[in-house]
């Protein structure tokens, strides 16, 4: 019954992009999620924490986050997600929006 909490690190070899300020983006609506993205000195890694009612898709979460972090070349960032059954496409979209907000 309890919520599924996933915690992992993603490291990209040529990562160069750090976020300057912490940002919050999104609303935990049905099929949606919210993201907190904050700077975190972690030796170049991106620390991810996902809290979701969904079980059985842990490997998919990891792949979606790896793809996002890899394409954005992120480093030294903490990403915290409260999810409510968002699809991978929505997850990627919200992460990009949060990053855009951080860069604004």
């Amino acid at each position: 019954m309890a919520l599924n909490t996933l915690e992992f690190e993603v490291k990209t070899p040529d990562a160069a992009v750090a976020v300057a300020k912490p940002v919050h983006f999104g609303v935990v609506g049905s099929g949606d999620l919210e993201v907190l993205m904050s700077p975190l000195a972690s030796g170049g890694a991106v620390k991810v924490k996902v809290v979701t009612p969904v079980t059985g898709f842990d490997a998919l979460w990891q792949r979606v986050l790896e793809a996002f972090v890899g394409s954005a070349k992120l480093r030294d960032v903490s990403i915290e997600i409260n999810d409510n059954n968002a699809t991978p496409a929505v997850v990627t979209l919200r992460l990009r929006q949060a990053l855009a907000e951080a860069a604004a």
Partner: protein, 318 residues
């Protein structure tokens, strides 16, 4: 979030709770209380395996409109229908308390402060009431908010803003009714028992909740304005609500009591006259009441743009 200036022209209905809160007060003045970075999620939802939100679905904070400190509470309907639980409820209570404490401090330290320099509370409702997952804590939160309203009365005006998707129903319908002023847009809906619950209890013949036109002409802003349950009807933009709030901020604090719809013996008598009128009229539809109030053509009146509606409509006199 979009720039403050672009927020203003946005639909209040389509905006989220944080955008509404930020847009209601002057640019750059909003400071959030217990925001997402404080990560105060509901412990009850977590145990039940239900999705949580960092702000528990309620945005609270303080900003300014001109010289007036405005304590803002803004509910998010997309998170569990805006239902109020323990954390969100405590945030509402804490914000009203902060406004009262601030008013007390101003009264003590600056006894000559002008009315427009004294705090007000603005609550944007978007909720069906108690969050059933944490029912006791949610109910208690409703009672505690009402309790703060009584403390605030005559000291800190509390203003309801209703123009969100979910509307304001259930226990929070009572809470909104207990505030000093109700401001609505035509898309705002206010009631106690929501349309679907009425249908479930009384049947589709009594109330068809799939009939949107019926739902809006029974619970929507225009009807509430005719009935006197809502004091001001504004256009559906963040700027529309903000402009009304800014007018109210300038109003002498002594004038708020007269805007109340409930809360005195005289007002109870007035409400009872409404009940007597309903028994006599036996209206089959909200439009029957509009006709009785002196609007011979309720259909075209309902279709008129909001400013024109406000100018021409006759409100029910009890």
């Amino acid at each position: 979030m979009s720039k403050w200036s672009t927020l203003l022209s946005r639909s209040f209905l389509e905006s989220n709770a944080r955008e509404r809160a930020v847009g209601l007060v002057d640019e750059g003045t909003f400071t959030e209380f217990a925001g997402p970075f404080d990560r105060r999620t509901s412990p009850h939802l977590e145990v039940l395996g239900e999705a949580v939100e960092f702000d528990d679905g309620i945005v609270t904070g303080v900003g300014r409109i001109g010289k007036t400190p405005v304590f803002v509470i803004s509910q998010e309907g997309r998170f569990i229908g805006g239902a109020v639980g323990e954390v969100g409820g405590a945030k509402m209570v804490g914000t009203i308390k902060a406004a009262i404490d601030f008013a007390d401090r101003i009264a003590k330290d600056f006894p000559n402060a002008a009315d427009e320099e004294k705090p007000i509370v603005a609550i944007s409702f978007e909720t069906g009431g108690v969050r059933l997952h944490e029912a006791n804590a949610g109910l208690l939160a409703h009672a505690e908010v009402m309790d703060q309203f009584q403390r605030a009365r005559g000291k800190v005006p509390v203003i309801s803003l209703i123009g969100s998707k979910v509307g304001c129903f259930g226990g929070m319908g009572f809470v909104a009714a207990a505030t000093d002023v109700v401001v609505m847009s035509e898309f705002g809906r206010l009631g106690l028992t929501g349309p679907e619950v009425i249908e479930q209890e009384m049947g589709k013949d009594e109330f068809d909740s799939a009939d949107r036109a019926l739902v809006y002409r029974t619970t929507g802003g225009r009807h509430k304005y005719v009935m006197g349950d809502c004091n001001f009807l504004v256009e559906d933009t963040v700027a529309g609500f903000r402009a009304q709030l800014s007018e109210l901020a300038k109003l002498p604090r002594s004038e708020f009591e007269a805007l109340r719809r409930i809360g005195s013996e005289k007002l109870v008598e007035k409400q009872l006259e409404g009940v007597a009128l309903a028994a006599e009229l036996q209206p089959k539809d909200a439009r029957d009441v509009w006709v009785h109030a002196g609007n011979p053509d309720p259909v075209s009146l309902a279709m008129a743009p909001v400013p024109q509606f406000r100018e021409t409509v006759k409100r029910l006199a009890l």
